[in-house]
């Protein structure tokens, strides 16, 4: 899923549970739960990062902007919201190190968690953008309701 949706989901977990011992591990697990939902993306082997980077850049910028807004809105839970957002979106950092594997659809040399991360993303497709938008609206509505 997009970094924007992972970030918003992390914030929702933090704001609904408000208990770091529960929210922090759940935020990390949520990354893989979200990736199991069919979502926007390019399947491994068809990915050309040089063409894809504009989408990634736009997504990361949106995620960072929304994270900033949420941290201002909920500054009484600043560190919890920040930590949950970081842990929820963070696991995708590994794809930068494994970008060659993604481009060539080659799983050799991947660590165990990344193998699982690859496997759980069973459906990435362009029309998945509709699912991303629906998820974004749902998370946005929850956040506004929690305000």
């Amino acid at each position: 899923m997009t970094a924007t949706n992972h970030t918003l989901t992390g914030a929702v977990i933090a704001l609904t549970l408000k208990n770091p011992a529960l929210a922090v591990p759940l935020a990390f697990v949520s990354h893989f739960v979200l990736d199991a939902i069919p979502h926007f993306g390019v399947p491994p082997g068809q990915l050309v990062l040089k063409k894809y980077y504009k989408i990634v850049a736009a997504d990361l910028t949106t995620a960072a902007l929304l994270a900033g807004i949420l941290l201002i809105m909920f500054n009484n839970h600043f560190w919890l919201v920040f930590g949950c957002m970081a842990l929820s979106a963070g696991p995708d950092i590994v794809w930068w190190f494994y970008r060659k594997n993604l481009e060539k659809d080659n799983k050799t040399g991947l660590d165990l968690l990344t193998r699982f991360h690859w496997w759980i993303q069973w459906k990435e497709f362009s029309k998945g953008i509709y699912i991303e938008v629906a998820w974004f609206i749902a998370m946005g509505a929850i956040i506004l309701n929690l305000r």
Binding site: L22, A36, I120, A138, I142, N145
Partner: protein
């Protein structure tokens, strides 16, 4: 996914959000999110027709009844929205039951063109990409987590 996990997810949404206009649609959506996770079943995407051929399925149904009983015990005294969300989160599985008992089992192919049957096969069943017997451990883990969170939040 088991009825316990679907209903528990719906109840948890109601207990955390509390706004009916949001809770019920989210509970409905939660069904599909949960079904996208690896869960108990048998490969081949044949639904109940395949699952009911295996003895383990009957043990899982029994476990599910116990799980639902614990869930009802946990949410006892909660407001109507919690129960409504639990039921709403379960609703899409009734399409699966309709598909199996109303069409496949009775070989009533006249109904296989109905909207419910089409939607069920095209979207709901295709979403269940990883139904495996070993995924029972994921179901148990998830049920434990959801029941714990319900107990904690309530």
């Amino acid at each position: 996914m088991t009825a316990t996990n679907h209903a528990a997810a719906g109840a948890l949404i109601a207990l955390t959000i509390k706004e009916p206009g949001l809770v019920l649609p989210l509970a409905f959506i939660s069904h599909f999110v949960m079904d996208a996770l690896p869960h108990f079943g048998y490969p081949g995407n044949k639904g109940y027709g395949e699952a009911l051929k295996h003895k383990l399925t009957y043990s899982v149904i029994l476990l599910d009844i116990i799980g639902l009983t614990i869930l009802i015990w946990f949410v006892a005294g909660a407001n109507w929205l919690t129960y409504a969300a639990g039921i709403t989160a379960l609703l899409p599985d009734f399409a699966g039951l309709y598909n199996y008992f109303g069409i496949e089992r009775n070989k009533n192919h006249g109904r296989s063109n109905s909207l419910i049957a089409k939607l069920h096969k095209k979207y709901h069943r295709r979403l269940e990409w990883c139904e495996r017997p070993w995924s029972l451990f994921i179901e148990v883990l998830l049920a434990t987590l959801l029941l714990f969170l319900i107990h904690y939040i309530k």
